[in-house]
């Protein structure tokens, strides 16, 4: 999809290998499984739970220049929506090539309507979005 996806937990790489081999849901997994046993990287992103020694469910999108563009953190008991992650990634890609545009909430994929913020649009976002 044009991005390097790295999953990260505080498990060792050996546990991740075991999990990958054991869990049928992971049979098609191709992304790198990162190991952060000391929680160093999780701490850096503010998702390390000191009392549990575990990483919260945090998702971060970083552009090729190393700039953080999105951050989402869920508590342990809520899963993430991969469609929303893909939407955010595609929007980032689009915006990196069209720097004067903005992707509104309903933007889903390439070809969908974007906005071009300008003084004219102030108070007229609805009209701009609906093309009226």
């Amino acid at each position: 999809m044009g991005a390097e996806v790295i999953t990260v937990s505080t498990d060792t790489k050996f546990v991740q290998l075991a999990w990958k081999q054991d869990e049928k849901m992971l049979k098609d997994v191709k992304y790198s499984m990162g190991s952060d046993p000391t929680g160093k990287v999780a701490r850096m992103f503010g998702v390390y739970d000191e009392s549990a020694g575990l990483a919260l469910r945090g998702t971060f999108i970083i552009n090729p220049q190393g700039q953080l563009l999105n951050a989402e953190v869920n508590f342990y008991n809520m899963g993430r929506n991969i469609d929303e992650l893909l939407r955010k990634f595609k929007a980032n890609l689009h915006l990196s090539k069209h720097t004067v545009e903005a992707c509104p909430a309903k933007w889903k994929e390439e070809g969908d309507k974007t906005l071009k913020p300008s003084p004219k649009m102030v108070g007229k976002v609805f009209e701009a979005y609906e093309g009226k």
């Binding site: 044009g2 390097e4 996806v5 499984m33 990287v41 992103f45 575990l54 469910r57 090729p64 990634f89």
Partner: protein, 57 residues
Amino acid sequence: MIETCCCGIQVGQPVPDFKLETFEPTKGDFGEISLEALKKNKKWTILFFYPAAFTFV
């Protein structure tokens, strides 16, 4: 670098370099990944933290 940064990075800010040991399912082997190398290869990076192996996403 990482040691001085403990509490999260604000969206829009540069991410300090980090390194992770990895398991690479495509090679069936261990590896290493760093933000520096990803930047050098002009890659977008998605970091996906989860509490522990053997749990859901």
